[in-house]
């Protein structure tokens, strides 16, 4: 459950009664996670797919029933379907999808993990996630960017919660290694002593 899920749930309920401003509130609360998720799935076309997703969300709003967290899961499902449709269409037009490895400069071995984390940019994170096996990448996106819990992410993916939990965990561990952050508690801190390795 995210911090503003209560606010989101209330806004969705009012929007379902026809409250336009409430729908705008819901949009503002959901869009960053939704668009970020789509960036991970389809890269540059995320904005277009997100716009399509919101059309569908607006149209089908009456079919939704649940709280704020449920709404985030429901909208992520819609977004995912739109993204998969696009990917299917794109099979005839090969282009670098987000899950293909990109040539991105990663922090070199001399930079500390703290610096690496501090300089995390959207592009870098997405590039790192794109290098994960697809199942791990999607699980990480849903857990980390959309902020869904295990069961909710599993519903979006149509998989068992245990499998999704494992995928997300493994994906995060790999990301931690890539960034020089040890998942076993030995996070390197370079703020005070850069010679510490």
């Amino acid at each position: 459950m995210q911090a503003r899920d209560g606010e989101l749930g209330a806004a969705v309920a009012r929007a379902q009664q026809g409250d336009e401003a409430a729908f705008a509130t819901a949009y503002r609360l959901v869009q960053p996670g939704l668009l970020g998720y789509l960036r991970g799935l389809v890269g540059d076309e995320a904005e277009d797919v997100a716009a399509e997703a919101w059309l569908e969300i607006a149209r089908d709003l009456g079919r939704f029933s649940g709280d704020g967290a449920g709404f985030r899961g429901w909208t992520a499902t819609i977004a995912r379907h739109r993204a998969l449709d696009l990917l299917r269409r794109q099979k005839v037009r090969p282009r670098a999808a987000a899950f293909e490895p990109d040539l991105v400069e990663l922090p070199g071995p001399h930079s500390t993990s703290e610096q690496a984390l501090e300089t995390l940019s959207t592009e870098r994170v997405l590039a790192l996630i794109a290098e994960l096996p697809r199942e791990q990448g999607e699980a990480v996106l849903l857990r980390v960017v959309v902020g869904l819990d295990g069961p909710a992410a599993a519903r979006v993916l149509g998989k068992r919660p245990g499998a999704v939990r494992t995928s997300a965990h493994r994906g995060l561990q790999r990301l931690a290694e890539e960034l020089g952050v040890r998942g076993n508690g030995e996070e390197r801190s370079g703020t005070k002593d850069k010679r510490r390795r």
């Binding site: 705008a24 960053p32 970020g36 995390l120 990480v140 990301l175």
Partner: protein
């Protein structure tokens, strides 16, 4: 969730170590920071919401409206009769039928004696009392309107096909007036036929009278054809 949430973080704390949970939150925040909601996107989404809401409100059909085509308002409209007109038809038919029963009961009509189960030249299949119709043991309406003759289009009792068989008459379940109606059903949009079929059912229920109706109102059969083409 959303740009402003920093605490609670990504929902990974339940099964990840603390460090991974922290990492997850930072990764999530980094991605969301580059995916902020824009005013344009918000306007578009709200416009879609408005359009969907207005379309939902507009789609609620007025009572009695049939949504399955514009031809509704053309030549067929007169046939979208309300209850009073159907009641008038029903009364007309009833009076004719009763007249026929009266005529038959006094033996005024040849071959229309309801008790005779043997084939008669008028409507052999109808001389046998149809089941479930105690008040009309035969179909005196047909003999009423036409001179006694074997007529291939008189079979009007689809529920008694056997009675047609042994008289050597062909089974003709599709009737001239009804022929197109079953074809019309698959052509209609899924939501609409429920509305359309309601008024038709009573007429179909009186199917055995279609012969008389067709004879009395030949233009009606013609109107049924264009309707059914829909």
């Amino acid at each position: 969730m959303g740009g402003g949430s920093r605490n609670a973080g990504a929902a990974s704390g339940e099964d990840d170590t603390g460090d991974l949970a922290v990492l997850a939150e930072r990764l999530g925040a980094a991605v969301r920071a580059g995916a902020a909601a824009t005013p344009e996107g918000e306007e578009r989404a709200v416009a879609a919401f408005r359009a969907a809401r207005d379309a939902r409100d507009a789609q609620a059909p007025a009572p009695g409206t049939r949504l399955w085509g514009t031809r509704l308002w053309g030549a067929r409209r007169p046939w979208r009769m309300g209850l009073p007109a159907r009641a008038a038809f029903g009364a007309l038919l009833a009076s004719v039928m009763l007249g026929g029963v009266a005529m038959a009961s006094i033996g005024a009509l040849p071959g229309s004696t309801p008790d005779r189960p043997t084939p008669s030249p008028t409507a052999p299949g109808h001389a046998v009392p149809p089941s479930g119709r105690p008040t009309l043991p035969a179909r005196p309406t047909v003999p009423l309107l036409r001179p006694p003759k074997p007529s291939p289009e008189t079979p009007r009792t689809p529920e008694d096909p056997e009675k047609h068989d042994h008289h050597g008459k062909p089974k003709q379940k599709p009737k001239p007036g009804h022929e197109q109606k079953p074809e019309a059903k698959p052509e209609k949009p899924p939501k609409a036929p429920q509305h359309k079929e309601e008024p038709l059912k009573p007429r179909q229920g009186k199917g055995r009278d279609q012969g008389q109706k067709a004879a009395k109102l030949p233009h009606k059969a013609a109107k049924d054809s264009p309707k059914a083409k829909k």
